[in-house]
Symmetry: C2
Subunit: 273 residues, 2 copies
């Protein structure tokens, strides 16, 4: 059964989505339709939104669910009269925290993430730039500046993981694709990597999944054939084991999960506050 879920915020809505999706993932009885409404910070916008909630309510014949992170009190109160089932992050937790901290909340939107003024902003931007400059084995001369060097077959998830490590944790992550040429000398670590053993971390992936991903890029090619993917994954995993390189299998993980697990397993410390 279809049921619409609204993520509503007077900020970006990113927190509303994140906590709402975590909670919704625990239920599978409905086909949830997600819609996000950021920057709902005026009564006019709220009135339009409430109209939408009413319309959906009529069409689906069941009240919609609203996950909200709204600091503007007027907007918040209006939404509570919308007839939706409301999960309100701020109203639920702020009073308890107010009591614990002995201080009134500021009721101020937005300021949680590093803006361009902060040290963290610089670090994030530099880290993303590092990931781009040192992507796909393009340059290996900066490896002494890297916090970690991800290895893996082409399309095993290295690039997005490196970018996410930079954006989320401020980590300088390079990546090096292990290609067929590297596999010619079987089970030997490619030369540029040898001085940096302690920074190496491997990704692997189910060969069938890899073939599927490669197929999107180059359909019906040798590159995307099951046989080729099996051979590469098998050999690369052998290298990891022989060289004692820690690795994880990315098959069932999202980019966020791969990156967080790497942080954990490689004992990396985040470089953002």
């Amino acid at each position: 059964m279809q049921r619409t879920v609204f993520f509503v915020s007077d900020g970006t809505g990113i927190t509303a989505e994140s906590f709402g999706q975590s909670l919704l993932a625990q239920f599978e009885g409905y086909e949830f339709q997600h819609v996000t409404f950021p920057y709902i910070d005026s009564t006019v916008k709220t009135i339009h939104l409430i109209e939408k909630i009413h319309n959906i309510h009529k069409v689906e014949q069941i009240r919609p669910v609203v996950f909200m992170t709204v600091l503007n009190e007027e907007v918040s109160q209006m939404l509570h009269t919308s007839g939706a089932f409301i999960i309100d992050l701020f109203q639920t937790f702020l009073p308890g925290l107010e009591h614990e901290f002995g201080q009134h909340p500021l009721y101020r939107t937005g300021k949680k993430r590093s803006t361009t003024h902060s040290h963290s902003y610089h670090r994030r931007i530099e880290a993303v730039q590092f990931a781009l400059d040192n992507d796909d084995g393009a340059r290996t001369r900066n490896y002494d500046k890297a916090d970690i060097i991800l290895l893996g077959a082409s399309r095993s998830g290295k690039t997005p993981s490196c970018i996410y490590l930079g954006l989320q944790f401020g980590i300088f992550a390079a990546n090096y694709p292990i290609t067929e040429e590297d596999l010619d000398e079987p089970l030997k670590l490619p030369k540029p990597l040898q001085p940096h053993r302690e920074k190496l971390f491997g990704l692997t992936i189910h060969p069938g999944r890899l073939a599927g991903i490669r197929h999107e890029r180059r359909p019906h090619s040798r590159y995307s054939s099951s046989q080729q993917c099996q051979l590469e994954v098998h050999t690369i995993e052998q290298i990891y084991r022989k060289e004692h390189i820690p690795y994880i299998n990315s098959t069932d993980y999202s980019v966020e999960e791969i990156s967080t697990r790497i942080m954990d397993l490689a004992h990396l410390k985040r470089r953002l506050k």
Copy 2:
């Protein structure tokens, strides 16, 4: 006064951080020290964590705060005995949702984000790849495939915004730096952009801030001088206005905020479920 805040999860901890930081941003009485503990999914790990909570409690002489997204019931119960001030996302909201949905929660970690199996994973990866391939005006021939083309001075935040638009929303975002050469013919839209007017979106930034960011890259250069930054920002803003290109000032925003505001102002529809 220093006070330590723990973000604890049996998953990645990303949700715990996101909702915890939103709430903490409303209080400024303490110097909060953030620590994240992902993958706390066993009693052994929980015992170690509770020891840490006790130690911090002793040192700071005030109970630490724990924001938690823990589905494992045993871990959750143990943490509730730690003596910390607990904000528990799941225990607080799951019972209400259970009642509303008429269904028991699955108590299953992790599965909220697109894994490598899903259509969304492919779209995210393709979108990040698109941002990289079409970064910094490197190629302009793919602009017909772009959902949006960001403009701006060098170091005004284009690249991280494009990557985030891809990662978070599945948007194909290219970017084109407006350089001195483009400014030689004053107030004219660079040629490669002319066929794509409806996709253009501008970034601008406070000249002093831009100088600061550039200074990190090339200290004491003409590139990072106040005068040069002022000239570039001023001229670029004139182009935006003359050509009716929508734009935002990124100075006080994080990468997340810039990207979400672009989505909103450019009326882009997210391409991920």
